[in-house]
Symmetry: C2
Subunit: 233 residues, 2 copies
DNA sequence: GAAACCCATTACATACGACTTATTCAAGAG
DNA sequence: CTCTTGAATAAGTCGTATGTAATGGGTTTC
C-alpha cells in the first residue's frame, strides 16, 4: 500500500524514516549524505531526494557544512500518515496509540454529529452494512474480518461529516485500529458493548440524531481509552 | 519562517505548491520534469527533488512514461502545515478556514479540559499573561498585537494538554487565526465577549476546572464559527 | 474483424562527476 | 582578548549518460 513500487527511493526512505522514528538516531545526531549513499549502496542523488522528503516532514534539517541533523520529536509532522506508520512500528507504540486515541476521542464525536446531519442515503446504508458486518464477525476468532468492518465504519462516519479535515483522519484511525488489533493478543473476541454501540450509532446517524450520534461516539471512545488503560501500562 | 534559506529548491517548491493548491493545475493534469526545469530555469535535479516532496504530500503522483500527475484534493495531506499555508493563500481560503475552524471546535475543548488537569504553574502564568495582553490590545486598532497574544494563548493551551497530537496543531491554529485577522477588514476591534471568555478560560485552567475549561473553549469556538458565518457566505 | 502479442517510443529513475556556495573553525593580526 | 581572514568541509547545483517501465501503435493470429 505504502510502497507502491519497490524503487530505490522508497526503500531508503522507509529505512531511514523507521530508524529516525524509532529513536535510533537521537535528535541532534548528524548524518552525512555521502555516508548514507555508501551505507545503502545508492547514489548521492537518491539520498538527497530522500533527505528532502524527510526534511519536508520536519524529521531532519539539512544545513551546509554541518550535515543532516535529526530534529527533536516535538517538531515532527506527526499527522503525516507515513510518519505515523513509522512511529507505530517503533518502540513507543503504546504511547503513540494513546495520543492518537485521545485525538480520536476529540474528533470523532463531533464528526459523528455532523454525519448525522449530512450523511447521504448511500452512506447510511453502508454504515448499517458495516455495523451488521461487525455483529457477524464479533464472535469466533474472526478479528481480521471484524477489523475490516470497524475501519470501514469509522471511515464512513468521518467522510459523511462533510468536513475534509475529518475525512482525512480516516487513514489515521485505520492505523490506530489495525495497530490495536495486531498489537494485543488476538484470542479475545471484541467487546460486545462496543459492537452494540456501533449498531446504535448507525441508527442514530440514519435518523439524523446528531446529539445521540455524538454521545454514542463518545462512549465508543471512552471504551477504547479504557481498553488501552487495561492493556498498556 | 518557513523559507529559512532562499534556495532554489525552496523557491520552486513554493511556486509549484501554490499553483497546485490554488487549483491552477486541476487534478489529472500532467506536468513534465523537463518543462518545469525550463520554466523555472533550474536543473532537472532540483525539479525532481521538488517533485519528490510534493509526492510525499500526496499532491502529485509520478509515474514512468506518463509524467507527474496532480492528485485529487481528497488525497492531499491537508494536515501538512505547508499545504495549509498554500491553500490558505489560494482562492478557496474561506472554505479552508471553515474546515479548520470546525476542526478547532472539536479539538480545542478537549485539549483545554486536559490542560486544566496537566498545566504547570509556568503554563498557567503564561496563559494569564496572554489573556491580559489580549485585554490590553482589545481596543484601539491594535489587531496585530491582539493576534500575537491570541495565537500564543491557544498554543499554550494545546501544549499544556500534554498530548503531542494536540500540541502539533498549534501551528495550524496560528495559521487560522492569522488568516482570519488578515482576511477580513481590520477596522473592527475584536469581540469583547471573546476576550472575556479567554480571561475566564485562563482562570478555569489555573483552577484545574476541566469541565469549565472545556465549556468555555466550546463557547469560543462557537463564536469563531459564527464570525465566519457572518463574514463569509 | 477482434483479440492477443510484440516492439519502438517516451518520460521518469538512477548514477556519476565537476563545480559552486555557504558555514564553520581556527589561525593570525590588531 | 577581540576581530578579521582564510582554509576546510559538506551540502547545493548542474549536465550528461544510461537504465527502466508504461504506453500506444502496429502486426500477427484465430
Amino acid at each position: 500500500m505504502t510502497t507502491q513500487s519497490p524503487g530505490l527511493h522508497t526503500h531508503v526512505l522507509d529505512a531511514l524514516g523507521l530508524e529516525i522514528a524509532a529513536g535510533d538516531c537521537p535528535p541532534g545526531r548528524v548524518l552525512r549524505t555521502d555516508e548514507l549513499a555508501q551505507r545503502f549502496d545508492v547514489s548521492r542523488t537518491v539520498v538527497r531526494e530522500v533527505i528532502r522528503v524527510l526534511e519536508s516532514m520536519h524529521l531532519v534539517e539539512s544545513r551546509r557544512r554541518v550535515g543532516v541533523t535529526v530534529r527533536p520529536t516535538e517538531e515532527w509532522n506527526v499527522y503525516d500518515p507515513q510518519v505515523i506508520r513509522w512511529r507505530l512500528a517503533g518502540s513507543d507504540r503504546p504511547r503513540q496509540l494513546r495520543s492518537l486515541t485521545v485525538l480520536r476521542s476529540a474528533v470523532e464525536p463531533v464528526a459523528a454529529g455532523l454525519a448525522a446531519r449530512h450523511a447521504t442515503a448511500e452512506q447510511c446504508a453502508a454504515l448499517t452494512a458495516c455495523a451488521l458486518g461487525m455483529v457477524a464477525t464479533s464472535r469466533g476468532q474472526q478479528l481480521e474480518g471484524y477489523l475490516r468492518h470497524d475501519i470501514a465504519f469509522h471511515r464512513i462516519v468521518l467522510d459523511a461529516s462533510g468536513n475534509e479535515m475529518f475525512a482525512r483522519l480516516g487513514d489515521v484511525v485505520a492505523e490506530v485500529l489495525a495497530g490495536r488489533t495486531h498489537h494485543q493478543v488476538m484470542f479475545e473476541d471484541p467487546d460486545p458493548a462496543a459492537v452494540t454501540l456501533h449498531v446504535r450509532l448507525a441508527e442514530a446517524v440514519r435518523e439524523g440524531d446528531a446529539a445521540g450520534a455524538e454521545r454514542l461516539t463518545k462512549e465508543i471512545a471512552v471504551g477504547a481509552l479504557h481498553e488501552l488503560d487495561v492493556l498498556a501500562p
